[in-house]
């Protein structure tokens, strides 16, 4: 390499094996090397704080504006001591009337949810117990893979449509609402996703052999209505990931004034008693953030606050103990500190 230019040229022309130069091969690509300097770090933390706090407050406000009424009814609707016996008895009248007072005006549409707690829709035995092909295609009625133990009817072995534990355990409490003694119409249309109705559940697939066995799980289905229009089923079959979940029951399109009293007649059919689950009826308005959920708002305000606090702390620390970055003189300080690991 110390050769004069002319000689090195002649060498190069003599079929040199010298590797070709490029910034890539020599690992000399231009690079930017950001360091965690006080300026950048304090700036970043302040920025996060400044952005997060308003977003948090906005979310919190949106969430707080949502009116949400939760009425847990599983205990009150069964007066008998043997709750499981009561619920499993098909003959008793299970109607139950609940009165809910609305604290704040609710703008329609008001979503009606049922909420189950301690119900494991995400259990591996449960979540897999369905067959998507069978739900969609008319010809696939006998495709019952994964549906065990609710795959075929007990007597003839005919395939159950829709098969599997999920469909079998379809929620079957019903609610009828009246406001100030006047019945309120519940819109049960379009409670399921359009995509599910169009692409996941067939419009020419009809329930058959469903809930015909000795053991009745949940709701029965009208065999005249195709699966794509059985919206309660479609909603139910979008399994929840958490053991506490809400599912859309319907909507009330009208507004409800403050201090109105809603009367709900509940047909309390669904058995959550044998496993200690709870049931609740939820009425809620919505906003851009979805349902009422303070978590995001609180978390944003908290994180934003902590970031601002940290940024301030860094500034104070930097003022008290200023350190020039990259000044190796500080290393001597390091050296004097004997229990310092480095």
């Amino acid at each position: 390499m110390s050769l004069p230019a002319s000689e090195s040229d002649s060498l190069a022309s003599r079929r040199s094996k010298k590797p070709k130069y490029s910034k890539f091969t020599q690992q000399e690509l231009p690079a930017c090397k950001p360091l965690l300097t006080p300026g950048i770090v304090i700036g970043a933390f302040s920025l996060i704080g400044v952005i997060f706090v308003p977003i948090g407050l906005a979310s919190l406000a949106a969430s707080q504006n949502i009116v949400e009424l939760i009425d847990r009814y599983d205990a009150e609707c069964v007066s008998a001591n043997d709750k499981v016996g009561f619920i499993q008895d098909t003959k008793t009248d299970k109607a139950c009337t609940r009165k809910i007072t609305v604290p704040k005006p609710m703008k329609g549409p008001i979503h009606i949810y049922y909420q189950l707690e301690n119900f494991y829709q995400n259990h591996r035995r449960y979540v897999k117990s369905r067959n998507d092909k069978q739900l969609l295609y008319k010809d696939a009625a006998s495709t019952i893979t994964n549906c065990e133990p609710e795959a075929t009817s007990e007597d003839g072995g005919a395939p159950i449509v829709p098969c599997g534990l999920i469909a079998w355990s379809l929620f079957n409490d019903t609610y009828s609402f009246s406001l100030n003694k006047k019945a309120v119409e519940v819109n049960k249309k379009n409670i399921a996703w359009d995509s599910d109705k169009n692409k996941k559940f067939g419009s020419d697939v009809f329930p058959s052999n469903f809930q015909k066995g000795g053991l009745i799980g949940g709701a029965k289905l009208n065999e005249k209505i195709p699966l794509s229009e059985q919206e309660d089923l479609i909603v139910w079959m979008r399994t929840a990931a958490l053991p506490t979940f809400r599912k859309l029951y319907g909507r009330i399109e009208s507004d409800i004034m403050a201090s109105d009293e809603i009367t709900v007649v509940i047909q309390n059919n669904y058995n959550t008693y044998s496993f200690g689950g709870t049931k609740a009826l939820v009425l809620s308005t919505t906003s851009w953030i979805g349902g009422r959920n303070n978590f995001i708002g609180v978390a944003y305000v908290a994180i934003g606050g902590i970031c601002l606090f940290l940024a301030m702390g860094f500034v104070i620390l930097y003022v008290i103990k200023p350190r020039a970055l990259g000044d190796p003189n500080y290393l001597s300080w390091n050296k004097e500190n004997p229990d310092h690991p480095n």
């Binding site: 110390s2 094996k17 130069y21 591996r124 959920n293 970031c307």
Partner: protein
Amino acid sequence: MKRFVYINDDSCRYSYCDNRISNTKYSLWNFLPKNLWEQFRRFMNQYFLLIACLQLWSRITPVSPATTWGPLIIIFIVSASKEAWDDYNRYLSDKKANERKIWLVKDGIHRQIKAQEIHVGDVVWLHENDEIPCDLVLIGTSDPQGICYVETAALDGETDLKTRIIPTISANLSVEQLGKVKGVVECPNPDNDIRRFDANMRLFLPIIDNEKCPLTINNTLLQSCYLRYTEWACGVAVYTGNETKSGMSRGAAEPKLTAADAIIDKLTIAIFMFQIVVVLVLGYFGNAWKYTQGLKQWYLMYPVEGEAPWYDFSIIPLRFELLCSIMIPISIKVTLDLAKGVYAKFIDWDEQMFDWETNTPAHSANTAISEDLGHVEYILSDKTGTLTENKMILKRCCISGTLYGNDNGDALNDVRLVNAISSNDPDVIKFLLVMALCNTVVPIKSNDDTVSYKAQSQDEEALVNAAANLNMMLISKDSSTAEICFNGSKFRYELLDILEFTSDRKRMSVVVKEGQTGKILLLSKGADEALLPLACPGQQIQKYLEAVEMYSQLGLRTLCLGWHDLKESEYKEWSKNFQEASCSLDNREFKIAEVCHSLERDLHILGFTAIEDCLQDGVPETIKLLRNAGINVWMLTGDKQNTAIQIGLLCNLITSEPNSQLLSISGKTEEDILRSLERALLIMKNTSETKDLAFVLDGWALEVILKHSKESFTRLAMLSKTAICCRMTPLQKAQLVAILKSAGYLTLAIGDGGNDVRMIQEANIGVGISGREGLQAARAADYSIGKFKFLKRLILIHGRYSYNRTAFISQYSFYKSLLICFIQILFAFLSGLSGTSLFNSISLMAYNVFYTSLPVMTIIFDKDISETTVMQYPQILLHSQAGRLLNPTTFCGWFGCSLYHALVIFFITICAYSDEKSEMQELSMVALSGCIWLQAFVVTMDTNSFTYPQILLIWGNFVAFYMINLILSAIPSLQLYTIMFHLCSQPSYWISMALTVAVGMGPVVAFRYFKNLYQPSAINILQQIEQSNGSIQTSGNLESARANLLNLLTGSRKNRDSYYHPLLSDSAESARTD
């Protein structure tokens, strides 16, 4: 066992294999099973196969079997195709060699056949520049003297021409006779020793001659050499196909594992253990949940007690096993192999390691061990040709007590010597005669009548050249005569015998007969300690010893020359013994040495030659830099102690007295040596670190020590940063490497010659210098470079970066796998411990092999600090030597980070997506997006320098994640259908992601900031210096700062054992603290 080869006789030809060469590892039908078998020998592959098989059982698999089978098959196909491609290329080159046309002589008829059709016993006819197809015993050449020249570069890497002689027995055969000759060659069974062929031959035709004629390696033409400067030659095939010497010496080298690989393996096993524990715990609680809660959950329809199969209890643990199997990243091996391939390419491409003079670029033959370069602890270097140029020039000499060349440092121009020659001083003449004749140099006359010399040893070439300059010119030489031109008149000498040089004898002699007088002379040259004891009594040796001492002080290589008159009868008798010894089939070398010894006695010592071997360019600076980097450099040489010490001083290996002390381990008896070893050990232990201590020992001392006191020597070796070992045999060099290796150190051996091959192969890393002594070392080595000085770049730049990068890639691979696995485990607590997978099969598969493996590859462009900074502060290398970036402690950091991130992602997801939003598919995609967001930021955080490929890959991958999932969301048959559209249109999704990043990264940033500012590591400080200065300038103000920094760096070395506390008790670091 012996093999009898009947020349030109068909009766026995089929008892040996034909000449088909096969270097292939596989054949068409055994490829699949053999390759699979090879691949399944690795623990990781076995593990993944087990997992994949378990996944086929649909009752327990949480996800589709494709999640493991897919990547597993891809990985297998990738490594199998690589193997297949290599093997196919080997097959092609074999085929080419096998189908080469070769001339054969049979019953006087020449015909052409394919090389693969040659059988043992055939007579092969070669022409000039032909490649030799199999191992042949030479029986005839075009040369009237019966010699021919071969180039053996392909075999031993030596570029000079070697002379081959036909055995005396076939010397007088005519060309016609050669075609019909019959006879038998008795030779040993095939072996791989290319320097040895102890056989003999008898010819039947045309004259029955029952005398056995000895054959040596000099009578052979070995496969893959080339015939040069000889019109034709013919020989009998003795070894064919894969049984030739070159075929036997081939063989796959054992793959070397790097220290990083070893740690990764250990971590893998640790994670495996952890996984088993997790599985057992979760499995136990899962079963407990099932019996306490699950049976009550009527909608799960658990079968009634008694109907369950007997293996029911194992279902849930097995499900968790499968769920947790992603803890061990399936992609880590592929990713690392890919990265290592790139490191190797960077070495090959490096322009700054290109040697202009020899036109050689650096090359890494072994692509798998680059990161080990980054924590080399001991460098064991050869001297000649490695530290020095191996360009020998005679600078001084001492003839019968007169020292020439002392005044001007150049004996060739010393007037006194020129005068002595012109006045025909008999001793001087004899001295020159020995220089010109006692060697194995081949003079080659070029067209313009100038003579150039081809020699196997650089010393011999220097001597012959010097003699020629002093008017004693060797003009021609063949097997039996040599012609010398002295002062214009020619003299003929008959070369009767050559008593060859061996490393045991350390001397060589020739027996010549003066053409005119008929006097028989024995001319010897050799190492002083090999020749002086043979001097005839009464000579003044003292003067010579002083001269040798002085020459060694100057770093010159000395050779002693001597001669001895032989009586005709004495020679005859000896010659018979010599013949016998040369014929013996077993123990030949020893017997020959015995016989030679009987002749080499009562020598008249003529004097000494002193040859200078200049230091290579940049050697002292390189050694200083490497020693500053905390690497201990040892010099192993075959040279004399004084020469070695002088070279050591010249190249900064040792410094002169006040700062350092040289401990000599030597003695006259074994006890003396052992005592001096103990003393050296004591001094080493009790001296402060500021003083450089080095020890010196020679081959004999090492032999004694290894026999009696290996442990103390190992202790000494661990204490001493520098050592000079002289008079080492190749085996001893390798033994020293082995001692350091067994003490747990990472060794690098560097050398250039055939005598370094063993140590290069023994060391963790072998570096060969493509030097003057041929390419043998470079071929055996893992890395070959043109000059010693490139070693600093190889270690400090390439080794260091490679180690940093591998440390990140491997730990990151575990991090991302653990991250997703922890989320699955957390989810298990919310799904009744039933083993439901939160993520769907596609996401799981793509996460490991696609989403997370691309960004991590960007780290192969990363540089924590610039090359100039590394070169300026080589002490920074200590960071990687101590394994600081990849050890159980750092891994715990990553482990903790992945646990923390999993918690952050999981809790933010389930809180933000609770109640009516808790749809399975959506929740799973929110969690997955959280992982992707965080991992992109983690990679960004750990990248020190951003180049555009890095930015492109990290954020391009990020964009790709969304693109892919949006596309998947458009396919109705997938579970993912419309999910991403839903999510992307929700503000709360994006808000959750921002929250995840802020909570996940905030503490990491804050922690790093604190550390950088208030507890900076040396790397942090250097980065800051780099940033604040733009480039580092050593101004006066910075000088003191730099001193401080160096203090810190060296200080950190002292503490390096206490720097971290290994978790695994058998980690490399803890093993060596004792």
